[in-house]
Amino acid sequence: MLDQAFDASGVETAIDVASASQVFRSSSGARVAALHDVSLTVGPREFVSIVGPSGCGKSTLLRIVAGLIAPTAGAVSVLGSSVGVRRRDVSLVFQRPALLPWLDILDNVLFPLRHMGRNVGAAERERALGLLSLMGIADFRAMRPNELSGGMQQRVAICRALITDPRLLLMDEPFAALDALTRDELGGELLRLCALQPKAVLFITHSIAEAVTLSDRVLVMSPRPGHFRRDCPIPLPRPRDLGVTREPLFQELCSHVRDAIA
């Protein structure tokens, strides 16, 4: 079903950013170049990570793709239409889970549908429960967010992003606030998820190992102004699990990416 939807839409790229630049005006009035001449293409089922130091413009690029800010220069098209058009098949996951504390877990997952004014019936509820089981947290459906650990909350945030069946998932350092063990665990979940429901993912991270484990392609970004320094394909076979981290090729790819950053 999902595959047909992709083919029928005839979309060849999920994201197409053509020489985008972004200039912010600081409070003192100085012009700060956040991005300079950045081009990026992400295929319809491609998992692309952007790694780079803090303040290199990764999040700015993600916000441009999400349509939250307009680039100062350059053209951006997402799933075949220009980014000014509000897309409802693009979902966001942030560093903080940002759940709604007044709703229980199930209603948090259903929130995007209600917020967009869609009817929520038994089928949608079933779908939300399915996503929660997929992430292994169906038992918590009646709890409130503050009763869950950070890792569990982030799983809920991922379910919330998936409830609209997005074709593009934008993830802004989604595991950065978690401890190392939970971070690995969620990385594994994300790998499993992408194998089950292939979709385009733009993933922003500080962690080289995380980027190499998850991605088809890792883009290395440099700051002031933000630009891509290297495009590293990750030819690790799919489907993958966390076992790839033990392979020699994985280590080699990691050092390749690390060299590009340094």
Binding site: R63, R86, R88, V90, L100, P101, H115, M116, G117, N146
Partner: protein
């Protein structure tokens, strides 16, 4: 919500009793302290022979106030009406004002100075003026109560509305949802803990407002009772009315707390003053 570790230590006893003892410890200590003050007061007044029109003993206050019987009920009723009307009006006015303040820079620049000027005028100074302007009825007392309760409500609600987590706003924006829907679905519920902190402050202020209003112009009410009793040196009645008033303030505050705990339990974990 969370059980204290001391409960586990007392687990050897019957659990119900241990729980009761742990829960009752605070109130028992508080009641004891209050009781001590009352006893000291009673003994002090009797031992030093303080005259009744200077400081009546607690027993005299209770005796004289009880002697009023049902006569005190209309006074309580009048004050409660003023408190609720003024408080309710302040709440109703505070929402659109706070929404206006937090949603537009223009309105914020236009309204904030006015609010601050209003707040810097002492309500006690405003009360006689309002009484002349608004006439002899209930209106000036309600207006005074509303004015005194409004500011904390507006400020805390506006703060709540503008401190919505950035991610939630972005989530809503990325879905292309209208600002009105964003307000109703996200920003207003997210502001509930802030609104309640304003509601709690304003509840106690409303009692003050109602009394100030009754001091200036009223023919009934606990404030009126205090004012007239002291004029005739009926100090025991004035003290009685004062204690009833503080009991009302306490109960109303607990009422707001109860509504928050009962209907918005999640808000307590998010309370702005809990962080």
């Amino acid at each position: 919500m969370f059980e204290t570790p001391s409960l586990d230590l007392a687990a050897g006893e019957a659990p119900g009793w241990a729980r009761f003892r742990a829960a009752a410890r605070g109130p028992v200590i508080s009641s004891f302290a209050i009781g001590l003050v009352i006893v000291a007061w009673e003994v002090g007044v009797r031992v030093f022979g303080v005259r009744e029109f200077i400081l009546p003993a607690p027993s005299v206050i209770v005796r004289d106030t009880a002697a009023m019987g049902w006569g005190i009920v209309p006074h309580i009723e009048a004050t409660l009406v003023t408190i609720f009307a003024g408080y309710g009006l302040a709440f109703v006015l505070s929402l659109p004002l706070a929404i206006a303040l937090s949603s537009s820079r223009f309105l914020s620049h236009a309204l904030y100075p006015l609010l601050v000027i209003k707040q810097s005028v002492p309500v006690v100074a405003l009360a006689p003026i309002l009484t002349v302007v608004l006439g002899a009825g209930e209106a000036p007392r309600i207006a005074i109560t509303t004015l005194i309760a409004l500011f904390p409500l507006v400020v805390s609600t506006a703060t709540g509305l503008s401190s919505t987590p950035m991610e939630l706003v972005e989530l809503s924006q990325s879905m292309g949802v209208s600002r009105m829907k964003q307000l109703m679905d996200i920003r207003l519920p997210a502001a509930v803990p802030f609104i309640f902190s304003g509601l709690k402050i304003s509840m106690t202020l409303s009692v003050v407002g109602a009394i100030v209003g009754e001091f200036v112009a009223a023919e009934r009410g606990l404030g009126y009772l205090i004012y007239t009793s002291t004029a005739y040196f009926h100090m025991s009645i004035a003290f009685g009315a004062m204690f009833i008033l503080s009991a009302i303030g306490l109960l109303l505050f607990q009422g707001v707390l109860f509504i928050e705990r009962h209907f918005f339990p999640w808000a307590l974990a998010q309370a702005p003053d809990a962080e």
